[in-house]
Structures are given as structure tokens and as C-alpha cells.
């Protein structure tokens, strides 16, 4: 079996973001980068598939500048077999349609039985790429999956709906699955596996070789929302903060 996992490198969401010079995205300098949280579940699920069947080859794909290779190495250390880096210094500003076109162009003749993506990215959050890739490849896709099993030819999955209700579905491979938080427990790479990952194949190709779509959107502005200054912000010494808070709770609520 062959599996493809599409991952993205995103900034730590607790970063101090700044707007870039063109006012269309965040400034990518001086940020701490990590694997998109949803994609960690995707990598883990593919690696579990290999542990289940043995003969599963797991390719991890990531689009972005050279720095994304760090995130790819984490996926390789988690157990993916090989990496395909699509080098694109402007990857962060590409929308879901372009990103999906790149992935589909790469995957179209590779015969992947299963493709895993995160259900969305933490920075852009469009929740489109996985479904678009599947549609471009003519494959069925199941989104927002919190429970996954596969017997080799059929996937049984549970989609998470609002309120925690789940929809149980079945689909034959080849298929694409978008992974939701909590789908499994992503492993931490061990030191020996980090060492082993250094020897794994990690090829780079230029984005121009794979990009086939053009954006249908213009970003007019990227900005910080006006702060709803509802909250009283309290800073200072811990003991005093606690006293102040108790005072506020006594005054404003009936709970103490």
C-alpha cells in the first residue's frame, strides 16, 4: 500500500504576529515554526497503517521555503518513509486552490491508496485543501475524521459533527481523509528515530513544476481586528492580582 501525507508548517499561534510589507499576510520573519497541529494526526495515522500492514510506504509532502524541511524531518522521525519538499518561498500566500493543484499534480500518477491531510491549517483555516485534492484526483474524500480504521481495501471512519455527534461512514480505497484533532495520539519522535530520519530520502522540487491553478481571490487587507476592549486587563504581582480578582468577584458576581 502507498500513503501520502500532506503537511504544512505553521507559526506557533502564540507568536507576536506582524503584518508583512504588502499588507497581505503575516511577516514570516522571526517566528517559531511547527507542524500544523491537525497534520500531526495525519502523520500518526499513516504510520499506524504501516505498523498494521507492514508493507505501507508513507510519503510526506510539504510546500514552502527551505525551512519547512525541519517540520518534514519531524514527520520522518515519527515514521514516514520519504519526503517530497515542494520549494516555494511564497507558499504561505498561496490559497487552497493553488496548494491543492500542486499536491494533485504530484499525486496524480503515483497510485496512492490513501491520502491524509489535516482538516485545516491553523494559520489560514480554510478547510479546503484536502477536499480539493480529492476532487481534482477524482477520489472520494471523508472530512473531519476522529476515528479511522482500514482493512486494506475499505476505510471505516467516523466524522465529527457539531455537539460531538459522529457520522459513521465507509469508503473503498483509494480515498482521501482529512484528520481532526483527537483522531489518535501523535507520537513524539524518539532520539534513535530522529537519527534514522536523517538518512531518509528528502527530495526537493520547484513549485513551478507542479503548480497548475491560479488564485481566484485577491487579498485586499490583512490586519488585526479592532480590539473589543471589554476585558479589564490586570498585570502585576501575583498575590496582589489574586486579591484584586477576589475583590472584583465579590463586587460583580454572586458566587463568593
Amino acid at each position: 500500500m502507498k500513503a501520502l501525507v500532506c503537511i504544512k508548517q505553521v507559526p506557533d499561534m502564540e507568536s507576536k504576529f506582524k503584518i508583512n510589507a504588502s499588507g497581505t499576510w503575516y511577516d514570516e520573519n522571526n517566528l517559531a515554526w511547527r507542524m500544523n497541529e491537525y497534520d500531526e494526526y495525519a502523520v500518526e495515522q499513516a504510520v499506524q497503517l504501516r505498523e498494521q500492514f507492514g508493507d505501507v510506504d508513507v510519503t510526506v509532502l510539504c510546500i514552502g521555503p527551505d525551512r519547512v524541511k525541519e517540520t518534514m524531518k519531524k514527520a520522518l522521525a515519527m515514521g514516514a518513509d520519504r519526503g517530497l519538499h515542494v520549494r516555494d518561498d511564497l507558499g504561505g500566500e498561496k490559497g487552497p486552490l493553488e496548494i491543492a493543484s500542486i499536491i494533485a499534480e504530484f499525486a496524480k500518477d503515483k497510485g496512492f491508496d490513501l491520502i491524509f491531510t489535516g482538516m485545516q491549517s491553523q494559520d489560514r483555516g480554510s478547510a479546503q485543501v484536502g477536499v480539493l485534492v480529492a476532487e481534482m484526483l477524482g477520489l472520494p474524500s471523508v472530512t473531519t475524521v476522529v476515528d479511522f480504521s482500514c482493512d486494506g481495501t475499505t476505510v471505516s471512519a467516523k466524522r465529527e459533527l457539531e455537539g460531538g455527534v459522529r457520522a459513521v461512514v465507509r469508503v473503498a480505497t483509494p480515498a482521501l481523509v482529512t484528520c481532526q484533532l483527537g483522531m489518535n495520539t501523535p507520537r513524539y519522535p524518539t532520539l534513535p528515530n530522529i537519527m534514522k530520519a536523517k538518512k531518509k530520502e528528502l527530495l526537493s522540487v520547484e513549485v513551478q513544476e507542479l503548480l497548475t491553478a491560479e488564485s481566484l481571490l485577491t487579498t485586499e487587507q490583512f490586519y488585526f481586528p479592532e480590539k473589543n476592549v471589554g476585558a479589564l486587563v490586570l498585570e502585576g504581582a501575583t498575590a496582589e492580582l489574586a486579591e484584586t480578582l477576589i475583590g472584583i468577584l465579590k463586587e460583580k458576581t454572586t458566587v463568593i
Binding site: M13, E14, F17, Y26, L97, M119, D123, G125, S126, A127, Q128, V131, L132, E135, M136, T143, T144, K158, R159, E160, L161, E162, G163, G164, V165, R166, A167, V168, V169, R170, V171, L181, G182, T185, S215, L216, L217, T218, E220, F222, Y223, F224, P225, K227, G230, A231, V233, L234, E235, T238, L241, A242, E243, I246, I248, L249, K252, T253, V255, I256
Partner: protein, 305 residues
């Protein structure tokens, strides 16, 4: 502008998201009509044309069939805009429809400004204003961003639509959410733990503060996913909705999905090291502090009262 509203029906019930989509269409102005896969037995309260496909025939969850039905309706009505909710139904279906229509898709729209669409980025810390370049546009709307001003009314004029219900994905049924062992809805005080607590052991500290306040403890999703507490204590769009007199959000950033479950709380206190955390937007008080230092001292002082 002609707007196609995609309604949602689950287990034979019209979902509120349907009426939020209607409210959005009304806000934009122009003609609208609705499409829904549902049943004659439960019709949406809507004054206008409703293209209705029978859920019994084509399945409540069958993305391929629903896509075909929407494309068919689009070809009859030629709308400029197709409106979904940014829900498990909408984000699954919208990209399928958008690609087939060569339409720009804007996900999780929260506002319209200068005729362009505003969507959140980076865990709601930032916003993007986007303008589509395509002839037809597909949007999904963030839950709660466009609420109906008044109780929906009306009787739709039904236009039946049907299609080939076969599809690669077999829907085997719904599984109910885990039953709640604790009734968070009844608690006056909820102390809620987020990923910022750092490790499972710190749940004890959260529980201790909850006891000192005579309340219950709860958690955001990552805390549940990590197995630090049970799912029936999760607050948010895929957990429980609560409205206590006091909600203490400890190390919770304030994602849309979390806030969906606690924004009706009477008084919200957030404890967070990041003074820019979006939780500050709905909190009454934001304590900028390390919860590992702050909570033990607060708990001690409360016990001494």
C-alpha cells in the same frame, strides 16, 4: 445579486445554521432562494423558493449526490453566490461545489466590508479581507457570525429536485455524543483548563480551584484530546454549551469553537500569559499571569475567606 442559501437538516431537524445563512443573505440584500436536502415533514421557516431534495432518497450525508443536486439547482437558477454554513456539512461540501463551478471559495466568513468578505486567520488573532475574482462565489459562514434579527417565519414554495443517489461513500448512521456524567449546564461556577495548563498533573490544581469556588471543572478540547480529562467535560462546539455565573478560562486562547460553548457565561475571567489572546475579547477580566503561579495563590486565598 442572486443568492443561493444552502440549508441544513440533520436527523430530520432543520439546523439553526440554516437561519444564519438566511440572515446573511438578508444582510447582503438581493434575491435569494434556498436549497436543502431534507424532508417535507420538517420545512424551514422561509418565505421563498425552496429546492428540496428528499433525504430519504439521497441520504442526509452523501457528498457526491448533494454536490450533483446543488450543481443542478445552480444551473437552473444561475446564482451569483452560494452560501453554506462553516459546519461539518458546509466545509465538506463547499469545496466540491466551488471546484466544479470554478468559483472562488471564502471559508468562515465573519463579516462583509466594502463589498469584500472578512475571514479570520491565525486562531482569530488576525483578519483577511478578500475579494473574489470569479463569476460565481461560494462562501461558508462562521457559526454565530450572522444571527437572525427576529424569529424566522414563512412558508417556502417547494421545487422538488432529485438525482442519482449512488456515491462512493456509504453512510452507516449517527453515533450519539458520549453522555455527560457531570451536568455542567447546572454549575454556577466553571473553572476550565486549556492547553496552557501544560500537563495532566495540573488538572488537580484546576479541580482544587473549582472546589474552592464550589463549582465544577471543565476543559478545552486539547486537554480532552490529550486524555487529561474526559470528553464529557469538554466545552465548545463539539462539546457542551454552558452559561454559568462565573467561567474561569485558565490557559485557554479563546478559539471560535471554544467560545461557542461558553460565550453565554455571565462573567468570564481569563488567566493567560498572552495579553493578546483572543479570549480577552469576551472576557470581563483578563489576568496576565502564569496560571501555575497564580492559581495556587488564588485558591489559597479563596479557602481562607
Amino acid at each position: 445579486m442572486k443568492i443561493m442559501i444552502v440549508g441544513e437538516c440533520r436527523n430530520g431537524q432543520i439546523l439553526d445554521a440554516t437561519y444564519e445563512n438566511v440572515a446573511f443573505a438578508e444582510k447582503l440584500g438581493g434575491d435569494s432562494f434556498m436549497f436543502m436536502v431534507g424532508t417535507q415533514a420538517a420545512l424551514p421557516k422561509y418565505e421563498g423558493k425552496l429546492y428540496l431534495a428528499d433525504a430519504g432518497e439521497c441520504g442526509e450525508f452523501n457528498p457526491e449526490a448533494h454536490k450533483q443536486l446543488i450543481l443542478k439547482t445552480v444551473s437552473i437558477e444561475q446564482p451569483d453566490l452560494v452560501v453554506f454554513s462553516h459546519s461539518s456539512y458546509g466545509w465538506d461540501l463547499a469545496p466540491r461545489v466551488a471546484l466544479a463551478l470554478k468559483a472562488a471559495q471564502l471559508s468562515e466568513v465573519v463579516d462583509i466590508k466594502e463589498g469584500a468578505y472578512v475571514v479570520p486567520a491565525c486562531n482569530a488573532k488576525l483578519r483577511r479581507r478578500l475579494r473574489p475574482k470569479s463569476a460565481i462565489t461560494v462562501v461558508t459562514l462562521q457559526a454565530g457570525a450572522f444571527s437572525p434579527a427576529s424569529e424566522p417565519t414563512g412558508q417556502p414554495a417547494i421545487e422538488p429536485v432529485s438525482c442519482d443517489p449512488s456515491g462512493a461513500i456509504e453512510f452507516c448512521g449517527y453515533e450519539a455524543a458520549e453522555a455527560a456524567g457531570v451536568d455542567l449546564a447546572k454549575a454556577d461556577v466553571i473553572v476550565s483548563a486549556g492547553r496552557g495548563i501544560g500537563k495532566a498533573e495540573n488538572m488537580e490544581m484546576i479541580g482544587g480551584l473549582a472546589r474552592a469556588l464550589g463549582g465544577e471543572f471543565a476543559a478545552s478540547r486539547p486537554v480532552v484530546d490529550a486524555g487529561w480529562t474526559e470528553h464529557n467535560r469538554q466545552v465548545g462546539s463539539t462539546g457542551q454549551s454552558v452559561s454559568p455565573k462565573l467561567y474561569l478560562a485558565c490557559g485557554i486562547s479563546g478559539s471560535v469553537q471554544h467560545m461557542a460553548g461558553m460565550k453565554k457565561s455571565e462573567f468570564v475571567v481569563a488567566i493567560n500569559t498572552d495579553r493578546d489572546a483572543p479570549i480577552g475579547e469576551i472576557a470581563d477580566v483578563l489576568i496576565v499571569a502564569d496560571l501555575k503561579e497564580f492559581i495556587p495563590i488564588l485558591t489559597e486565598k479563596l479557602r481562607a475567606l
